[in-house]
Symmetry: C2
Subunit: 149 residues, 2 copies
Amino acid sequence: MLAENINYKDVLKKEGMKSTKHRFAILELLEQSESPLTAEQLFIMLRAKTASINLSTVYRTLDTFTSKNLVLKSSRVDDGKVRYELNQHEHKHHLYCVSCHKLISIEECPIGELKQTLKNKIDFEVTGHNLEIYGYCHNCRKVHNNNAQ
Amino acid sequence: MLAENINYKDVLKKEGMKSTKHRFAILELLEQSESPLTAEQLFIMLRAKTASINLSTVYRTLDTFTSKNLVLKSSRVDDGKVRYELNQHEHKHHLYCVSCHKLISIEECPIGELKQTLKNKIDFEVTGHNLEIYGYCHNCRKVHNNNAQ
DNA sequence: GGAGAGAATGCAAATGGAATGCATTTGCAA
DNA sequence: TTGCAAATGCATTCCATTTGCATTCTCTCC
Ligand SMILES: [Mn+2]
Ligand SMILES: [Mn+2]
Ligand SMILES: [Zn+2]
Ligand SMILES: [Zn+2]
């Protein structure tokens, strides 16, 4: 048992889930990843790492994690694929570079005031939100500017 | 030819698209709809209206419209279905009631300041964004409050 | 108005991400 | 250690969307 899995063992137990090597492996990969991963990406990484896991297991595990709120799902119109990331219980959003497809996490969130406005104006009680921002990252802006000269 | 289609005829022509009854019918339905529709929803409505259209045609038409920027695509993690709406060229967002699944359009947008912040802090140039807000609508709040008493 | 060319459509089949039924294995509580 | 429920593997299915190809339709040019 790896040291970094010990805390996850407790987490799983608390949620009434059994501890398995696959689950640890998936949690570990999600933890190390800087951006949300598709089931298939995880599957390929797992094959290289754990050897022998089934894609169904990846999907089922991610579903279970999602239902226990350990993992967050998201989807872009881009490709029809769902992406999964560890729920760090921190509020954040993603910047998506339309040029190099990099995802950048940010902590800024502009919803606060709007939330109050909606409550006052139309009595809508906000419980959550999704914000995705598209544009050009620092690198791609540099490249683009150079080409334009 | 219906009166309301005359302007669309010009729009299609300007985009180099041929004018067909299917395209007019789809544009008309999207125009009348208050919230984004799936290809299948459109298909069913079209069957009732135009009689005889093929689902592939619906998809192909929506794709073409999207590429010409007449139509906007969106997707929620919810069900695996993509939704389409007319591009009204007005900036808006949707409130999604998690209780009654109603979609409410709003014009407020809180991105403005954030845009500048991102430019200054990490040189990210925002070109677009998606914001979806979840919560309880006025009606569902009333019902919920009454039940709780 | 009537060709002719190219675009749009219908139809059937394919694709591909995700879900599922069932037999087998595994984790874990007693 | 044993027994049972949960987890997994494997094959199959599901279902939204896409695609190939034959046919039909639009629109331009005469
Ligand atoms: Mn936020
Ligand atoms: Mn906005
Ligand atoms: Zn970039
Ligand atoms: Zn509601």
